[in-house]
């Protein structure tokens, strides 16, 4: 619309701000919106003359530092914290002329699969407001699904882009580890996480990935993509071989999700692809390995929140008591769980049996993927084993919550990329397909995704927003 000069950046931003006024009271996807600032940014884009993607609005997960704009990581311990700089991905968005609509809700410190662990209240799924949008990037997904932002950025440590995208009927990319800079992203687990796009279409995901991907001087783990990102066109899949890890899908997948997955496989065959079995024998240990490695890294990363230099401080007579009181008051229950697990598995006497062993499992998972990719172009699985569940359904059992990510976790452990896109509805709730590729295969994933997307014909507008009933 913008590029065709059908409207100005101010008109576009205003339209989204109006929708946010109307609907975000129900959805609660945003934690922070500053209409004045957004309109000023949009006006500046109009004044400069909009070209390319300049003037297009975007929403940012509140784990991404935004200069002069509060960044909470969904936690009370960072309430009111004002970053001194933009995260690299935010700076790149600004350089491309994107206009921020605001910061979106998330599970505290990105730890969760439902956004119920936000210290600022949950976000509701636009497909059914009694259900979770997934997590931890639940706010980023909900605002796009509800038409409160055209696209957004989330982060993915064990599935936190792909699973909320799946629950909300959207496209989500977990990029190859090391292709998008983490400077300015509040750290949870440094060896596992990446920033990535949550969008309405595969094409949009590629466009946004073009903006954010690339090496960074300020992130030594980011060497960027090996080839430029190409925006895909839909086509056939002749000559493509997909691997399906049938053994891993035997248990725990809801029948409706499995039926939609089988539908995607048939589409693949109709488009000329071959489907073969692959074995990922160590993938089933991915959950255990992840829940050793991620909490271990988190326990180290979150040790900086001590009330000294920024964030919440609870006064106490001595510094140690201050640390303890501050952290007890500032962190929610899921964060405390993970810090405790992480501290335990790194502590003397347990480090070898847990942490080192988890790193060995990680090597084996990587080898499983490498072996599979020597005979197939990409691997297919459902993204999430179920559709969006109701609020409270998984809160009493942490392990049940963690099980949401059984298909997404191994991807982060191996550092390979994966694209999630919707493949249908199950009783009115979105179901999704995950396409996993070798390192640096984003262009292939986008091309494959575009082909599936066209064939699936999924409408990403929830009935609630069409004035229909859910």
């Amino acid at each position: 619309m913008l590029q065709a000069r059908d409207c100005t950046a101010v008109e576009l931003a205003s339209a989204y701000l109006e929708r946010i006024e109307l609907y975000d009271g129900d959805v609660h996807g945003y934690l922070h919106v500053d209409a004045e600032r957004t309109l000023a940014d949009a006006a500046a884009q109009d004044a400069a003359g909009t070209t390319g993607l300049s003037g297009v609005p975007i929403a940012y997960k509140d784990l991404l530092s935004t200069k002069g704009v509060p960044t909470t990581a969904g936690s009370k311990i960072l309430e009111g914290f004002m970053p001194l700089e933009d995260a690299d991905v935010v700076a790149r968005g600004k350089a491309a002329g994107l206009v921020s609509l605001g910061k979106t809700n998330l599970d505290e410190f990105a730890m969760g699969s439902s956004t119920e662990h936000s210290a600022y209240g949950p976000t509701c799924n636009p497909w059914d407001l009694t259900r979770v949008p997934g997590g931890s990037s639940g706010g980023s997904a909900a605002v796009v699904a509800a038409g409160l932002a055209p696209w957004s950025l989330g982060t993915d440590t064990g599935g936190s882009i792909r699973q909320p995208a799946a629950f909300c009927g959207l496209v989500g990319l977990m990029p190859t580890y090391g292709t998008v800079p983490r400077f300015g992203v509040v750290a949870f687990a440094c060896s596992l996480e990446q920033v990535g796009p949550i969008t309405l279409t595969v094409r949009d995901a590629a466009l946004l990935q073009q903006i954010i991907a690339g090496a960074s001087e300020r992130d030594a783990t980011c060497t960027g993509p090996r080839e430029p990102i190409v925006v895909p066109t839909a086509g056939r899949l002749d000559g493509i071989t997909f691997g399906v890890p049938w053994a891993e899908l035997e248990e725990g997948v809801e029948p409706g999700i499995r039926a939609r997955f089988d539908g995607s496989l048939q589409i693949a065959r109709d488009l000329g692809a071959e489907i073969v079995d692959v074995e990922l024998p160590y993938a089933r240990h991915g959950l255990a390995a992840y829940y050793v490695i991620a909490p271990a890294e988190a326990s180290a990363n979150l040790s900086r929140f001590d009330g000294v230099r920024y964030g919440l401080r609870v006064e106490a007579p001595d510094v140690r008591s201050m640390y303890e009181a501050t952290r007890d008051a500032g962190f929610g229950p899921e964060v405390k769980r993970r810090i405790m697990i992480g501290t335990y598995v790194l502590s003397a006497g347990y480090h070898d049996a847990y942490y080192l062993q988890a790193q060995r499992v990680r090597t084996l998972i990587r080898r499983d993927f490498d072996a599979a990719f020597s005979s197939v172009d990409a691997i297919l699985s459902p993204t999430a084993p179920t559709t969006a569940f109701e609020f409270g359904a998984r809160l009493d059992d942490p392990l049940a919550m963690y099980a949401n990510d059984i298909f997404t976790l191994p991807v982060n452990l191996a550092g390979v990329p994966a694209l999630s896109l919707p493949n249908g509805l199950v009783e009115g709730l979105p179901s999704s397909l995950q396409i996993i590729g070798p390192s640096h295969s984003e262009n292939l994933l986008f091309r494959l995704g575009a082909a599936f997307e066209e064939a699936h014909g999924f409408d990403p507008v929830p009935p609630l927003l069409r004035g229909g009933s859910s």
Partner: protein, 100 residues
Amino acid sequence: MNVRRIELTTDEVRHVAALARLGLDDAEIERLGFELQGILGHVATISTLPIADVPPTAHALDVSVELRPDVARAGLTREQALANAPDPTPDGFRVPPIGS
């Protein structure tokens, strides 16, 4: 879901909380102790895998890091560094006494 649990005494839970600098009250110690026993019971399944010969992977990245030239650059100004401080002074970050 695996329902194995591992044994953790209250003292062990308190020890971990102390290492993590978390000031947990008795109810939290009990609750977290219970939850940890379940979660650790599940993740402990990997400790019995016969994979001691496999090299551990700390990091998915296959590249070695390039260093930038060793040239000094400006850092944060004093104002910037103190901008979010709970108790700033002209000299730095004030904290309660170290040691009780």
